[in-house]
């Protein structure tokens, strides 16, 4: 049945997070971006909403709610409407947790999920990106080679969210000799594992204050139990789709924020004797921004909903949503900046930050998942 109705819980989450985004995330965004550091208080405040713990089964100490891609899409959009960097920092551990819920064996869940159910934020994340230009998730250079009952991982992972502090990583690697997404599996790698070295990485165009790390895997020996899902492994297409749609959901929030910021300015700013909003050249830009904010959201919702139901069309819907948001989000952020003219270029206003964040969200796979 086709319906655009959110359930009661989703509506409540949306409202609460939109309030948090407007009152806490947005006002602090510029200072945090300039400093390039994520305050612990933000991560704690985000954690306090219980978004990550809610979906952990009661057996592992969690809220026992539904693990819902749709709910995550709604939450990510709402947080993204305040600040994409802070949204990503708050929700990145959800990638690790969701993947465990979706694909983990009983033993893996029992070992890892309980620590995410408490009141103290725990950092863990998904390691996808690698150093090479033209990186593609299905063409990983990081490899996993069987050795006895275990695996040996070699490779390099870059821009790993919360990499500076995460206690565990879910590392994507390609089976030695395998090709395509079908050969990609995920491995739980604790930070202290021998052969893994982690360096804090800073300096990215967008999502600048999101803590990041570079992982070097040099003959990292893992037990057989480290492979997510055990012998069954994971459906990497589904995992990657969740990350792509997650980033797209944040981008939808960002675009709505940029559009809503540009509208009052267009009514205020006078040129040639009247507000620029009364000129079709500007009014039509805003109309197009509004049109695409709406349609982007439905693309993301459809993908998230199909992913949630493990529908056969889910991966395709995710590719379509990612493609659509990739094209529209950067355009909207860029047009919002254009409406402000030179003021959009100055770092006093958030326009240039939104453009950087929109570009970053739509080229990285992740750093959050639905």
């Amino acid at each position: 049945m086709i319906t655009f109705e959110l359930n009661e819980e989703q509506s409540m989450i949306r409202e609460a997070l939109q309030g948090f985004a407007a009152e806490v995330l947005a006002p602090g965004a510029r200072a945090i971006d300039e400093a390039g550091e994520m305050p612990a208080t933000i991560i704690q405040q985000g954690w306090d909403f219980g978004l990550i713990a809610a979906a952990i089964p009661e057996a592992y100490g969690g809220g026992g709610g539904d693990r819902s891609c749709m709910t995550n899409a709604v939450a990510l959009e709402a947080l993204g409407g305040g600040c994409a960097s802070q949204a990503a920092a708050i929700m990145a551990p959800g990638q690790f947790v969701s993947a465990l819920i979706d694909f983990g064996t009983e033993e893996q869940k029992a070992e890892h999920l309980p620590r995410f159910a408490g009141a103290t934020p725990v950092a863990a994340s998904l390691a996808v990106q690698e150093s090479q230009f033209g990186f593609a998730a299905e063409a990983q250079r990081t490899t996993a080679t069987r050795k006895g009952n275990g695996f040996v991982l070699n490779g390099e992972k870059r821009l790993v969210p919360l990499g500076d502090r995460a206690d565990s990583f879910l590392v994507l690697a390609r089976d030695e000799g395998g090709a395509g997404l079908g050969a990609v599996q995920a491995y739980i790698v604790p930070r202290e594992t021998a052969g893994l070295s982690v360096e804090t990485e800073n300096g990215t165009q967008g999502l600048k204050p999101l803590p990041k790390g570079k992982l070097t895997l040099d003959n990292v020996e893992l037990p057989g139990s480290a492979r997510l899902g055990g012998d069954a492994g994971i459906d990497a297409a589904r995992l990657i789709s969740q990350a792509r749609v997650g980033a797209a959901a944040v981008a939808v929030g960002l675009c709505r924020q940029a559009t809503d910021f540009a509208i009052p300015y267009a009514k205020e700013r006078v040129a040639f004797g009247e507000p620029i909003g009364k000129k079709q050249s500007i009014a039509f830009m805003l109309a197009d921004m509004h049109i695409e904010c709406e349609t982007m959201r439905w693309m993301v919702w459809k993908a998230a909903s199909l992913l949630e139901h493990n529908d056969p069309g889910a991966v395709k819907a995710s590719v379509l949503a990612q493609d659509y948001v990739r094209r529209k989000a950067v355009k909207i952020a860029d047009d919002a900046l254009q409406i402000f003219g030179g003021h959009g270029f100055i770092r006093d206003l958030p326009l240039e930050m939104w453009l950087r964040n929109a570009r970053t969200l739509t080229v990285l796979d992740g750093p959050v998942s639905v």
């Binding site: 593609a136 009014a283 049109i291 659509y324």
Partner: protein, 397 residues
């Protein structure tokens, strides 16, 4: 909770709609070439919608709400290559379902509805020099005794040939702007009313388009729709607003027609290219795809986005929420993809896509109108911009 999956029966209905719609494909080219010829009631090999209707009885209360689903049906139907017999608007409910009938139903008095409700009525607004800016129309009507005398020229009258009469816009007070505009029911055969010509068009050739002239055309006093002969001072008029409301209601349906042509062209291109070995690998990332693969993805994403905007506008109607803004959003998207997607499909297919051996070129010709009629894409953007900026139609023109 938000859901985008169709039930088995709804999917079955859509599949059947496509099957039925394709059953007359081999006759389509003939009627493209003989555009003013009306096809017989049943063409050879034609399967009718009576195959579809019984399936509706199997729909469950939990299925997609009706108007939302009807938009999906409309998109499926319009994406086929079979013979059509006019615009969807004028078709499904039989004779008395022209756009003029919709205006009569929303703005007519009970007496007028009883008197003319069974006639097939066209809508006649556009003039040689007046299109989107409807308040600028030049046709006039003046009261002479117990009759209105209408003078003016009208063009682009959809179903203007096959209708019994038309709802004609004319001003009774040019100085009053839109407040002076009234609509009049003029029946074929009224003295001074002439059907000047039938237009030859790029596409939608099965829908006739007429030009009218009115030279001291006399109609009875009760031909004024709604019966209000006054010219309000506040700038509005119940009749004008009534007819504009008709457009708000029909916009998602018109948008669905544009999306349908995009979908038809895309489906054709995808199938044809698959036969040539070009198919999208959904597991490949952006920078690993071929250019045709990426183009197919963009075309499908754009068509899907437009589809969802239409379904959303209709769904709001189903759940009794206002959808004026969303109707314009979906009409703008439908208008966009009806142009860009058939164009892109032909680009991907290459030279043979222009040949009359195939019907893909028809999607470009048929789709093109969707960004023009019932409010151009520019008019939709004006409406959207006014709404989000909080400007009146006087403040943002």
């Amino acid at each position: 909770m938000a859901d985008f999956r169709l039930s088995a029966i709804d999917q079955q209905i859509l599949d059947k709609v496509v099957e039925v719609g394709e059953s007359t494909s081999r006759h389509t080219r003939y009627y493209e070439d003989h555009e003013h010829e009306t096809p017989p009631t049943r063409l050879e090999g034609e399967r009718g919608f009576e195959e579809v209707f019984p399936l509706f009885g199997q729909r469950q209360p939990g299925d997609t709400p009706m108007m939302t689903f009807m938009m999906a049906v409309s998109i499926a139907r319009g994406s086929t290559t079979g013979v059509t017999r006019g615009l969807g608007l004028a078709m499904p409910a039989g004779r008395a379902s022209g756009l003029g009938n919709a205006a009569l139903q929303s703005a007519g008095t009970p007496e007028q509805k009883a008197k003319w409700g069974d006639l097939f009525l066209a809508m006649s607004i556009t003039e040689p020099n007046v299109g989107s800016d409807t308040k600028a129309i030049q046709a006039t009507a003046r009261l002479d005794g117990d009759e209105w005398v209408i003078n003016g020229d009208k063009i682009f009258v959809t179903d203007g040939v096959k209708c019994d009469g038309a709802i004609v816009w004319a001003t009774i007070d040019k100085s009053a702007g839109r407040a002076g505009i009234k609509s009049f029911l003029v029946l074929k055969g009224a003295p001074g009313f002439e059907l000047v010509r039938q237009e030859k068009k790029l596409g939608i050739r099965s829908s006739d388009t007429a030009a009218y002239s009115f030279r001291d055309c006399r109609v009875p006093r009760d031909a004024l729709l709604g019966g209000d002969e006054t010219v309000p001072k506040d700038g509005g008029s119940a009749g004008y607003k009534g007819v504009m409301k008709t457009f708000n209601m029909t916009r998602p349906a018109v948008a669905s027609g544009g999306v349908a042509k995009a979908k038809g062209a895309f489906d054709f291109a995808r199938a044809a290219l698959a036969e040539e070995g070009v198919e999208v690998d959904w597991t490949r990332s952006y920078n690993q795809r071929s250019a045709p693969e990426q183009r197919l993805i963009e075309m499908e994403a754009d068509t899907e986005a437009a589809t969802l905007s239409v379904l959303h506008a209709a769904w709001l109607n189903d759940v009794r929420k206002p959808n004026n803004l969303e109707s314009s959003v979906c009409k703008a998207k439908g208008g966009e993809v009806c142009r860009t997607i058939p164009q892109a499909a032909m680009e991907l297919l290459g030279g043979m896509s222009v040949s009359h051996d195939h019907l893909v070129e028809k999607f470009l010709r048929d789709g093109r109108i969707s960004d023009i009629y019932e409010g151009t894409g520019q008019i939709q953007r004006l409406i959207i911009a006014r709404e989000i900026l909080g400007y009146s139609s006087e403040e943002l023109t």
